[in-house]
């Protein structure tokens, strides 16, 4: 244990060190970052491709307009229009006279943005079909292969063989020195028989250990039937909770709006996606391919911004499959119990692909009901009951869910 504490300390010290270097490097090279500026200032209305969002797609804009014009336009588009610039007026009318706001950016910053747009355009041209560059996918943290242990075993094995040979050689030399005859060669079968005879106790102990280990493994395997913990099926849309919740900080109930009021948390319908994805037409990981599936479901054309007549639902794969015999209500836990979503669903904000975090067994439910205190304060439903229970269990007692009948059958089974 001590060792591991030590290691972790070393790791964190290293991490801090590297982080410091990283940031200092960043600070040294403080140049306008076209990519982040574009995302912060422009991406709401423009894409780096040729598709329209609110404003025109900016792919190859440098070939259409010169730098001077672009600088003027970005700083004060209305000014350019008022000056009677024919191209500007045409553009303004083409986009329903939606005015582009003025941006107080320095020339360098604006140039960096257009450099970024240009680079993006070239990148797209270089790999026209590359929808999802693999580099961007976060590497899943798989448990590492036990290299150390293997090495030790290998070294020990080599040592054993070497020492065996050495022992053999020494024995032979000893015999030769003493003039003893060569020993009668023993067959390997005979040798193992001899070994077994000599080590009966060891074998018995090993057998017992193996039997116990086997039973435990077997039992666990059987008990795990029907439990699909860590079930992480592939979904029709590669929706990343890590991006939406972890990075963009969208609240869980923004999309799973049923969780606060209903039995079901609900998978959001695509029209909820459109609140953002009407404007965000390109994702950082998969580009347009995955977002296009939302449009396909709604029969939406991002260029004309029109909904078609043939929407079709998205067939998500259900991850949490509670059996029909168990009744679970989200609102009870989220609104009344004020339980964090993560308590049961795990760190969804870190999941690229969502998996079933909890076993969803009855034992798991019961364990939580035995240890979780009921949020009675501030809820008039519980006032009277709270007083009664305080008298019954003492003022300091933890009033857990099981104390108000939370283990009774008909709370979940009916």
């Amino acid at each position: 244990m001590k060792g591991s504490v030590f290691t972790s300390k070393v790791t964190s010290v290293c991490l801090i060190f590297f982080a410091l270097i990283f940031f200092s490097v960043k600070n040294v090279h403080a140049q306008p970052d076209g990519a982040s500026l574009f995302k912060a200032q422009c991406a709401q209305c423009h894409s780096t491709g040729s598709n329209k969002v609110i404003g025109p797609g900016l792919k190859d804009v440098h070939t259409r307009r010169n730098e001077e014009w672009l600088l003027k336009w970005t700083k004060n588009s209305q000014g350019v229009i008022k000056s009677g610039d024919a191209y500007a007026v045409k553009l303004y009318n083409e986009f329903n006279q939606t005015a582009m706001p003025s941006f107080a950016l320095s020339d360098d910053e604006i140039k960096s943005i257009f450099a970024y747009i240009k680079a993006e355009g070239e990148k797209a041209a270089a790999a026209p079909a590359a929808g999802a560059p693999g580099a961007a996918t976060a590497k899943a943290e798989e448990p590492g292969f036990p290299w150390m242990l293997t090495m030790i075993f290998v070294i020990l094995g080599v040592l054993y063989l070497v020492l065996g040979k050495v022992k053999e050689g020494l024995e032979r030399a000893l015999r030769a020195k003493q003039g003893l005859p060569e020993p009668i060669p023993v067959t390997s079968k005979q040798a193992s028989k001899n070994w077994i005879r000599g080590n009966k106790k060891l074998i018995a102990v090993m057998f017992v250990i193996f039997a116990v280990w086997g039973s435990v493994k077997g039992w666990n395997a059987l008990a795990g039937i029907g439990i699909s913990q860590n079930y992480a099926p592939e979904q029709p849309i590669k929706f990343s909770h890590k991006l939406h919740v972890g990075q963009n900080g969208i609240s869980c109930v923004y999309c799973h709006s049923g969780a606060e009021k209903s039995r079901h948390a609900n998978i959001p319908s695509p029209n909820v996606c459109m609140n953002c994805h009407k404007y965000v037409q390109q994702g950082p990981t998969y580009g347009t391919t995955e977002i296009a599936k939302i449009y396909a479901a709604l029969d939406y054309d991002p260029n004309t911004q029109k909904y078609g007549p043939n929407p079709k639902p998205i067939k998500w794969v259900q991850i949490h499959n509670l059996p029909d015999l168990a009744y679970f209500n989200h609102a009870q836990h989220v609104t009344v119990g004020q339980i964090e979503c993560q308590t049961c669903h795990g760190p969804v904000e870190e999941m690229e692909v969502v998996k079933q975090f909890s076993p969803l067994t009855m034992g798991w439910c019961i364990d939580c009901h035995r240890t979780t205190e009921v949020k009675m304060e501030g809820n008039a439903y519980y006032t009277e009951l709270h007083d009664k229970l305080k008298k019954q269990y003492g003022p300091e007692a933890k009033l857990t869910v099981d104390k108000i009948g939370g283990l009774e059958c008909a709370r979940c089974h009916y």
């Binding site: 998500w316 009948g405 009916y414």
Partner: protein, 1045 residues
């Protein structure tokens, strides 16, 4: 062997009880079969052989070892198969409608109106799918009440038998072709001045009527003929004679202190039973008041209404007229009016009492009659006029529109059709090929019609004979409006897109007539703008008015009261009453609560709903009194041949106490041939037996002859006579005068003999001591109170529970094996007239007395008792479950974890109330149970909050725990306590009489807490001290005992 003989209470020995109740006549007669069944509480055959696939006698039976091999292989295969979880897909909306949150139900106000019944309703939809019908409390007509038929109507939407699109000459066609052809026929008919007829059931929709008028203007020669399967034509005629209005009055049974009904089953079928039931119960409840109505019933067969009467007299159907005439004379003599000619009747004593009570409560009484003889109805109007009931309990100004059919016009139409004069005939909401007494004549006439078009949603008896079927939407897919009572409007809105390529009848008419409306909705909106909007002044914008009306489902006005002078000629009426001979066998035709007129016969929920009185389901039969059957040499199930005029109908005998002597009764709605898989070939068609007298259809017939056919028996499936209560008294009862003196009367404390002397049953406890008072219920304590005074036994709760809790339909065969799955049942008990007092007076010994109490009574009093899981707080079922699948919650619920149950059925054996139900089979996706759960369409009605149980597990009433949990969560989300009444069970919500109160005992302000403290409150089988969470309220009758109440 009685399973609980340890403590013998006084009650069980009947010494405190005046009467003895039976579960059925079988028990009363102590049939050998019944004794055998009674002694084996669970007399179902245990299908071991079927399970292991062996025929008991077959020689090549599977040996045990093979069976074990198969079993082993099966387990291995199942284990392997289970390793691979199937991939489930989740499909969210493409564009989620703003008002829908998956998992949260939406409610829409709408209207149920099928030409027979009416109710203003709320439709519960989940994810855009209607799954439950509730009553609309905004309506002052139905006041939130529903009826079994209304509750069940949602399944009609998911009927696999529905037509997928239009048909021409029995072949599928498309709308464009059908439109073109029908339009051509219409134009051809107009060109030659031909006749176009729209044959419809009563239309209560003002917009549809307006549309008919516009259609007729476009196609001159169009005439609308209204025909009701259950006709009130005679009453309409009488009201026209009496008041110049061919309409039915509306009633206020809640304002009536004395109710006299001659053959009108107003609580179950007559005009608008839901409305009547709620009113009736209002004046029968004794919470916070000390008065209740007195109800006299004169009738031929034991109806639901008659079962609830304080005094019931058996009268042959042909004698209704004589009874009414005699009643008129008695009232007239009290009022000092001139009498009419009337003879004596067999029930003169009852008539005198009724007349006296009526006169004592004049202005607060009501007399109704089920006869369709105009002369009789004129006399009824005369009696109500003499009593000054018009304006208080009977209202002809705000008249009912629910029955407008004219038998004479229908007969004329059939004649016209037969002559070949009709060019185009439209049939809407009618099925005369089945319902018309002379169906053969109608069918023959239909063949002579140039072009016949049916709007039926299924290929029923009439539609299949028509040239075109242009299927109408189901009402849950349609826009409509209704005016069931003058000035009381309601709107119907679609709650789901049309499932099939059907089209609303009104849209078809708009299409064919080329009317300048986009669709029927536009037409309704235009009509409401023109007519209804001006009837109010509160809202000054039409759009706001429309939105409010649509949201609330109703728009109600108060039409000014007119002056209605009775102008009927009672003397003339008295002489023209259709009378039958007093001897001779008569046949009466009635409606059952579930099946009604038969238009929803293909609904398996309604087929399986037991008749409230006979408890028979999936059948109709000839009901006759046991004495009469004995005299004729009939026993139950014998098939007899009944001949009425030139019609002969074969059907089984059912022994029904309370049927008038020399009378047999049969229900309509059965014997359908083209209704669908649930209804076809079930029972016999009784419409054929109705008689036509002076142009109106009378639902009885005289001059009947019966023959027993040779060696034919028919098995009737009844839900009662199973699950016996071991002869113990479980319904407590008293009379109003006694109750006024002593509120505990009829409900004495149950005392048990102990070695310390007599003790109250509830004081003895195995579990709770003073130090340990038993289980704590710190938060909620759910329970129920059931008022036996209000329960009329209608069965609305049974269907509502079935809808809410995904209770499967099991079919007739399984019912016969006592394997019905209903979580709530209504036990019906007959009483005997022998009492302890009368026995003492006669100097009878105790044994003689008990034996005498077993004697059948000719005209039994009836009590109904809804029976469901009592959620015992010392539940016997919980202690015997070997796997703790049934346990108790800290909120007082007896919980059932289906997936924990291994099916030992110990719990059911140990349940004193016999309310646990065992899943003998998997009832879903099983071709053996080809009902709604066997097809994808029918499964759409399932409640997604309740699991569908599998084979081999026990189930029972959960007190709608899904609703409790939902209600609690709503309160928690809002940070408040649930309000009393906010959480309600399906049975309590659907009860038309509010007999069931659900609530929280821990809420001292709840209605339940108050009712639990009432002196009438008791627990069933209190001597067992299982401490049920359900209280019953002693039934109080208001019989005339000679003492002043």
């Amino acid at each position: 062997m009685c399973p609980l003989p340890l403590l013998i209470s006084d009650t069980t020995l009947h010494t405190d009880m005046e009467k003895k109740y039976w579960k059925g006549v079988e028990e009363l007669r102590n049939d050998a079969e019944f004794v055998r069944l009674k002694n084996n509480e669970f007399f179902e055959h245990i299908p071991v052989d079927e399970v292991i696939g062996r025929k008991a006698e077959s020689a090549d039976a599977t040996p045990r070892r093979d069976f074990l091999k198969f079993l082993g292989f099966g387990m291995a295969a199942a284990t392997l198969a289970a390793c691979e979880a199937p991939v489930k897909k989740a499909l969210p909306y493409v564009v989620k409608p703003e008002e829908i949150t998956p998992g949260i139900p939406n409610y829409y106000a709408s209207t149920f109106s099928d030409g027979h019944d009416y109710a203003s309703i709320l439709v519960k939809t989940r994810e855009g799918r209607p799954i439950k019908i509730d009553g609309n409390e905004m309506s002052s007509i139905s006041k939130g009440a529903t009826h079994a038929r209304v509750q069940a109507s949602v399944l009609g939407l998911y009927d696999n038998n529905r037509l997928r699109g239009p048909k021409a000459a029995g072949k599928d066609t498309d709308w464009a072709t059908a439109d073109k052809e029908i339009k051509a026929k219409l134009e051809a008919a107009v060109a030659k001045n031909g006749k176009i007829r729209i044959l419809t059931a009563t239309v209560v929709s003002p917009s549809t009527k307006a549309l008919f008028a516009e259609f007729a203007a476009k196609y001159p020669g169009t005439e609308v003929v209204t025909y009701d399967a259950v006709s009130f034509a005679g009453t309409l005629k009488a009201n026209e004679q009496s008041f110049g209005k061919a309409a039915l009055p509306t009633y206020r049974f809640d304002n009536a202190d004395v109710i006299v009904s001659v053959g009108a089953d107003f609580l179950s079928n007559w005009i608008n039973p839901t409305e009547h039931a709620r009113q009736y119960a209002a004046n029968r409840k004794l919470f916070g008041k000390k008065t209740m109505s007195r109800h006299y019933q004169f009738e031929a067969t034991l109806s639901v209404t008659g079962s609830n009467a304080d005094h019931r007299y058996k009268v042959k159907p042909g004698q209704y007229g004589s009874v009414v005439a005699a009643l008129y004379n008695k009232v007239a003599s009290l009022a000092g009016a001139t009498s009419i000619s009337a003879g004596n009747t067999s029930v003169d004593d009852g008539i005198s009492k009724a007349a006296r009570d009526l006169w004592n409560s004049k202005g607060r009484s009501v007399v109704v009659c089920g006869s369709n003889d105009p002369a009789v109805q004129v006399l009824i109007n005369g009696i109500n006029t003499l009593l000054g009931n018009y304006g208080s309990t009977v209202n002809i100004d705000m008249h009912s529109n629910l029955r407008q059919g004219s038998d004479e016009k229908m007969a004329a139409l059939v004649a016209e059709m037969a002559s070949g004069a009709v060019d185009v005939l439209f049939m809407y909401n009618v099925n005369p090929a089945y319902t018309y007494p002379d169906a053969a004549a109608f069918k023959a006439a239909l063949k002579k019609v140039g072009t016949s078009v049916s709007f039926a949603g299924t290929e029923d008896e009439s539609a299949s004979e028509a040239n075109y079927i242009c299927p109408d939407h189901h009402y849950l897919e349609s826009w409509n409006d209704a005016e069931p009572v003058k000035g009381m409007f309601s709107l119907g809105q679609p709650v789901i897109r049309p499932l099939f390529k059907t089209r609303q009848m009104q849209d078809s008419l708009i299409q064919w007539a080329g009317l300048p409306y986009q669709d029927y909705l536009t037409f309704i909106q235009g009509n409401w703008n023109k007519s209804m909007y001006g009837m109010q002044t509160a809202i000054s914008s039409y759009d706001a008015f429309w939105t409010k009306s649509l949201q609330e489902g109703v728009f109600e006005t108060a039409p000014a009261a007119g002056v209605n002078v009775f102008a009927g000629d009672v003397a003339a009426a008295a002489s023209s009453i259709v009378k039958s001979k007093t001897d001779g066998l008569e046949l009466v035709i009635y409606e059952k609560t579930g099946i009604g007129n038969g238009n929803q016969a293909n609904n398996p929920w309604l087929q399986e709903l037991p008749d409230p009185v006979s408890k028979v389901c999936w059948d109709n039969y000839f009901a006759m009194s046991p004495a009469f059957a004995k005299a004729q040499g009939f026993s139950q199930g014998n098939v007899i041949e009944v001949k009425a005029g030139n019609k002969t109908v074969k059907g089984p005998v059912y022994l029904q106490p309370g049927v008038a002597d020399q009378t047999i009764a049969i229900a309509i709605g059965y014997g359908r041939t083209k209704a669908g898989k649930a209804a076809d070939n079930i029972g016999v068609n009784a419409y054929e037996l109705a008689s036509m007298v002076n142009g109106t259809i009378h639902y009885y017939n005289t001059g009947i002859t019966i023959n027993k056919t040779v060696d034919e028996d028919h098995v009737l499936a009844a839900t009662q006579t199973h699950h016996t209560m071991m002869g113990r008294a479980i319904v407590k009862e008293t009379n109003l005068d006694k109750w006024l003196k002593d509120p505990k009367s009829g409900n004495p404390d149950v005392m048990l003999e102990t070695y310390k002397g007599k003790k109250k049953a509830t004081e003895m406890d195995l579990w709770a001591t003073e130090k340990n008072p038993g289980h704590d219920k710190p938060n909620h304590f759910w329970g129920m109170s059931i008022d036996l005074n209000s329960c009329i036994g209608c069965g609305s709760c049974v269907v509502a529970c079935q809808v809410e809790n995904n209770v499967p339909v099991v079919g007739k065969d399984e019912i016969n094996r006592s394997r019905e799955m209903h979580w709530i049942r209504i036990d019906r008990y007959y009483t005997s007239d022998t009492t302890k007092e009368s026995a003492e007076k006669d100097g009878m010994g105790k044994i003689d007395m008990l034996a005498k109490m077993e004697d059948p009574s000719e005209n039994p009093e009836v009590v109904f008792q809804p029976m469901l899981c009592q959620h015992c707080n010392h539940a016997p079922c919980e202690t015997v479950c070997p796997v703790a699948a049934t346990t108790h919650s800290s909120e007082g619920l007896n919980m059932m974890a289906y997936n924990r149950c291994v099916g030992t059925r110990y719990c059911a054996n140990n349940c004193p109330y016999k309310v646990r139900r065992y899943n003998w089979f998997k009832y879903s996706d099983n071709t053996q149970f080809d009902f709604n759960m066997n097809d994808d369409l029918g499964k759409m009605v399932l409640n997604p909050d309740v699991v569908v149980r599998s084979r081999g597990v026990m189930e029972k009433c959960s007190m709608c725990v899904q609703r409790i949990q939902y209600g609690k969560l709503e309160a928690k989300k809002a940070g408040r306590r649930p309000k009393d009444g906010e959480i309600n069970t399906a049975c309590a919500q659907s009860c038309p009489t509010n007999a069931i109160t659900f609530g929280d005992y821990n809420d001292p302000a709840s209605r339940l807490s108050a009712e639990a403290k009432d002196a009438r409150a008791y627990h069933v089988l209190e001597e067992l001290n299982v401490q049920p969470s359900i209280y019953y309220q002693t039934k109080v009758r208001n019989k005339d005992t000679g003492t002043k109440a």
